[in-house]
Symmetry: C2
């Protein structure tokens, strides 16, 4: 489709960019940690586990329920619905390109995809399993999983560690390259409209890229305070400060309202926005971010240009085969 | 894989069958009604709609949530979980081979797959949409559906009628042929174990096949009273009579406790059993059916033989491509 050129070349081609910010195309392969090299068998097992509602107490909620790989990798809800219709306070981040986050969860409390995958399964309002021991015990009763774990990890391999490794290995394949933006950065100048190029320049000039940098436009693991600036109107409307972010976990006042910088990739598909899903549209999100983070009031035209640019970040979604989940003869959930 | 032979040939090969019951293999193509011929475009659209949680009020429940095509076509629960964690009184029937039912729902209140598909979407405890007008209005906002409906049905085609036709067309492709049973009936005598053949003979001799007949072993649209016989112990344990079946809809006392005969295809995968999901295992279900319907007490060995036979009814599940659902830019659900 296109060749990733050097950044220098890309910037030279995108001649209208006035500041030498290093826009990067999305890699088509995600790096795997040394202790969990990606293999086809792990990916296949991980795909099964990821889509299996039997990883929840009620048998109704899979990872894919809230992080839907048939959609933009999440559920288009301000907060997700876990077992028994329960909802929490945060909006599900997209799983697409999560492999390019170096911290996971909105508050960045997990360092790896493997660590992240362990969390929701035993969260009482998400998948509601009492413990990973219960998950492992349930998986062990399913003959097809005995086979799939053995193929991926060897004999007697059904453990929490291997289940989360398999899920993470699958998630590393969920990459959406070849967006219009990537093509443009790769040298295909006609890939963006004039308005999108204007939006791209604005994003750079305004300083959005001081956080949203790197190939996934997520600061590659950066944390940032949100909101930085105060605004009584927005405070009353969006309640951003109700959730203390990283400090909820660390209990360190210095971490209050610190959040992982989220990816901008496919952001047109993942409304509503922010950690609490309080902004319904991209226009709203862009306006709020400029005001709360950069203390800037954007014109309607500027907002429209930036939104046009953000729409160019929607990538190509890989075709996937639907997994056939191993049956549980005689097993019931209630 | 195998050739469907004439029933006479099949029975001759299965020489040990003493009664001339016409066991039938499962067709690999389901007949479509005259006003909804199956086309690739309808099947593709139907697959998208079937897996799309945006057909529910909360954006969390798709047809596939309770009738899971990655599993045995249902959810292995006594009752399903609809929007906001609500549950009803009946167990989700499998969607696999539903094309071979001539009535749909446990109480047979829908005559076609098309009519069935309309029901759960606006059921307040299932998918919870206020009306099909609301569903149509929502689908019309999604550009990808505008395209997919046009490809399947022509211009300006987003209607309830077409949505349910597309879902039904997709469901007609959900067929699981080539079970061990089918191979055996088709002439491959080694496809069943000696115990499974014994179970098959028992099913015939006991009279199970007086209802569970036809290629889907569902009586091809037959209704039957359940339970027929009374048993105080089972009545106290299973509460089968709390639900009046067809009479709940028809309000006709003659229809009390009348139910559609469910398919036995893939029954090993669809625990728990009966309209209220009250029996957790196949052994339990077989024991109860013999007692309540045929007034027969089976020995443990007989139950085991029949269960072995029922396990031979698990077919081959077709490989499916995972649909990519058209995005809803800026759309949120809550």
């Amino acid at each position: 489709m296109f060749k990733i050129r050097s950044l220098v070349t890309a910037l030279a081609l995108a001649g209208s960019i006035s500041v030498a910010f290093a826009w990067e195309t999305l890699p088509t392969v995600a790096p795997a940690p040394e202790d969990n090299p990606t293999t086809a068998e792990k990916v296949e097992l991980g795909k099964m586990l990821y889509h299996d509602p039997r990883l929840s107490s009620t048998g109704t909620v899979a990872c894919a329920s809230c992080h839907n790989t048939m959609l933009g990798g999440e559920d288009n809800r301000p907060n997700s619905m876990g077992v028994n219709g329960q909802t929490g306070g945060r909006s599900a981040p997209t799983v697409w390109n999560a492999a390019f986050n170096t911290v996971q969860f909105w508050d960045g409390r997990a360092a790896t995809l493997e660590a992240q995958a362990a969390g929701p399964v035993t969260n009482p309002i998400e998948m509601g399993m009492k413990s990973w021991d219960d998950v492992v015990a349930r998986l062990k009763t399913i003959e097809g999983y005995q086979v799939a774990f053995e193929q991926a990890f060897g004999k007697d391999a059904i453990t929490q560690d291997n289940a989360t490794k398999a899920i993470a290995a699958y998630e590393r394949t969920l990459i959406t390259p070849n967006s219009a933006f990537d093509k443009y950065v790769g040298g295909e100048k006609s890939a963006l409209t004039a308005q999108q190029v204007k939006g791209m320049e604005l994003v750079e000039e305004l300083g959005c890229v001081s956080c949203h940098s790197g190939p996934a436009l997520n600061g590659a693991g950066m944390f940032q305070r949100f909101p930085i600036h105060s605004n009584a109107f927005f405070a009353a409307k969006y309640h951003f400060k109700d959730d203390k972010g990283l400090a909820e976990v660390s209990k360190n006042p210095a971490d209050e309202h610190l959040w992982k910088v989220p990816t901008l990739r496919n952001i047109a598909l993942t409304a509503p926005y922010f950690h609490n899903g309080a902004a319904k549209t991209l226009e709203e999100a862009v306006t709020v971010m400029a005001k709360m983070q950069l203390d800037k009031d954007l014109s309607k035209e500027q907002v429209a240009d930036i939104v046009a640019f953000l729409n160019s970040l929607t990538g190509e979604f890989p075709k996937q085969a639907m997994p056939t989940l191993p049956a549980t003869p005689g097993k019931t959930f209630n």
